[in-house]
């Protein structure tokens, strides 16, 4: 650290105090609610409300399933948007923008219209015995819709950052387009893809608006927080919130650390 400061001094650059000051202030703003949480939590009487543990399992399990679906279905779309140019591409981009823009509550209503028992898709799959409201599939569906657009935007940017020349060189070295994707595009996009996965995970796990409308049951952590607040009061919110942080943070943290450790270029 001292060496860094010396280099700055040697450059004759003034030590930038203003950004550091404003940065500290901004960080305090961000940290404020969490400091408040730490103070407000009754640590002597730390206990869960009935049903809290169940909501943790629901959130974790179904978010993982939603995340897998998002990666499997979102990655090809992101690659397609990043690598192909065609007429009317703007319309596809507009659809994704629309999904990003729609308020979660409104998206929940739209999904209920489509997948609800009287909706065109909902009534169709109901014949097969699958309910797409207030069920496990509905919960996954809600998280999928909440997080997918964020993943597609991040993954697309990641693929666009891969130099096309390297993909072309892989072809001239005898690799098929499929092999080129796995051996060149994916590894080189992995930083951005990891960021996209982390973002999708956070979005899916924290999804409230869509879930509230489409899948009030089974209750995941965000809805259970709401229920605890309504039925019991503030003190019942804090313990579950601490658990939420505990389960939500590891995946983004691991992804971040893993991709940074291999930052070679």
């Amino acid at each position: 650290m001292a060496a860094l400061v010396d280099i700055q001094a040697a450059d004759g650059l003034p030590r930038a105090r203003t950004p550091a000051l404003i940065g500290t202030f901004t960080l305090l703003l961000i940290a404020g609610p969490f400091i408040g949480l730490a103070v407000a939590t009754h640590w002597n009487d730390f206990h869960f409300a009935p049903g809290d543990t169940g909501s943790i399992g629901v959130s974790l399990g179904y978010s993982l399933i939603a995340l897998v679906l998002i990666i499997v279905l979102g990655t090809p779309l992101a690659w397609w948007l990043a690598r192909q140019s065609f007429h009317g591409k703007w319309a596809l981009e507009a659809i994704i923008l629309l999904a990003l823009l729609t308020p979660p509550l409104a998206m929940g209503i739209l999904l209920t219209t489509l997948f609800g028992p009287y909706g065109p898709v909902g009534s169709l799959v109901a014949h097969a015995g699958v309910e797409l409201t207030n069920s496990a599939p509905a919960f996954v569906l809600a998280q999928f819709y909440g997080a997918l657009p964020y993943y597609v935007v991040a993954a697309r940017a990641a693929f666009e950052g891969v130099p096309r020349e390297l993909e072309h060189i892989a072809l001239t070295l005898g690799k098929s387009p499929w092999q080129t994707f796995w051996l060149v595009s994916m590894p080189l996009a992995r930083l951005g893809l990891a960021a996209g996965i982390a973002l999708a995970w956070v979005r899916a796990l924290g999804e409230f608006g869509i879930v509230l409308i489409l899948a009030y049951y089974p209750q995941g952590i965000p809805v259970k927080l709401w229920v605890n607040l309504q039925d019991i009061g503030l003190p019942a919110v804090y313990p579950l919130l601490w658990v939420f942080f505990l389960v939500a943070i590891p995946l983004p943290l691991i992804l971040g650390l893993a991709s940074h450790r291999q930052r070679l270029f």
């Binding site: 130099p163 001239t172 070295l173």
Partner: protein, 345 residues
Amino acid sequence: MRINYRIDHPLQLQADFEVEDFTVLLGQSGEGKTTLLRAIAGLLPAQGEPFSGLPPQHRAIGYLPQGYALFPHLRAWENVAFALPRGPQRRAQALELLARVRLVHVADHYPTALSGGQQQRVALARALARKPQLLLLDEPTSALDAGTRDEVMAELIFDMHEFGLPTLAVSHDPYLAALADRVAAMSGRRIVQQGTPAEVLSRPASVAVARLLGHRNLFTARVVGHESSTGVTLLQWEAANGTTLRVPQQPELAAGQLVQWMIAPTAVRLPSFKPERHRSDNPVTGRVETRLNLGAHCQVALRCGTERLWLAAPSNLVRHHGLEPGREITVDLRSNGLLCWPHLG
């Protein structure tokens, strides 16, 4: 190997020429040289032989783009092994190829830790792993600094000959043409001349080719007439005080016509030690402007009227004549070293 390609998009281009040993295709920027290489590699649509219609992964070519495009996430040996089939021998084979370009010691380095010349040779080894029938090099000297360029190119060309692979390098660098086994010149998006470097350098087919080859003594003159008895065409070099020049007869040139002419700096002769032995073809008088000392040789710029004429001569001869700036001297432009072409535009 004969290359014959026609490209319509993104630019129109027609190229038909021979590649043997180390062949250099010279052309200005914007002639479509990179486009041609990419077409041969199958990376953009084109018609032509060889490899017509095959997708890039089925063409037996090794392509080294500008900057070499090594995979940044793979170590040197993994880059080389990229085209090799999976198996226990993979690393050994890659190291063998790296040994052929004398780079085993950097096998575990990532590309960012390699010098430009080393990256180029890793890219060469990687291309060789694919067992190509033709190597394509895009501006192989562009990423090298002047200090190491000669060394790196000498090694590269040595390797090419060692591997016995026909190689096509495209460049705008006349220096590279001098090292080639064969040269093709591209102008107006087609091949305008091809042959050995000696042939092409000494007899450029047009002013455009002469410029590509880096010739400096390019001037304009007017045809005065023909002397059939002595087999010469007379030119008047108006910019140099109307000096008369005699060139081997070119009957197609009409009196009064403007021509462009050139002479290699080595064909500009200083007066001989024994003047009685030689008759001057084209005496031209000028004043020394600059002298560049290049060891055993010197290059001297003479101001002739409004033009600057370069001559290249052994240093001892230049010293003998005392060619310091400001000194006036009459030199001889050898008739058979003078080339001229009708002036275009």
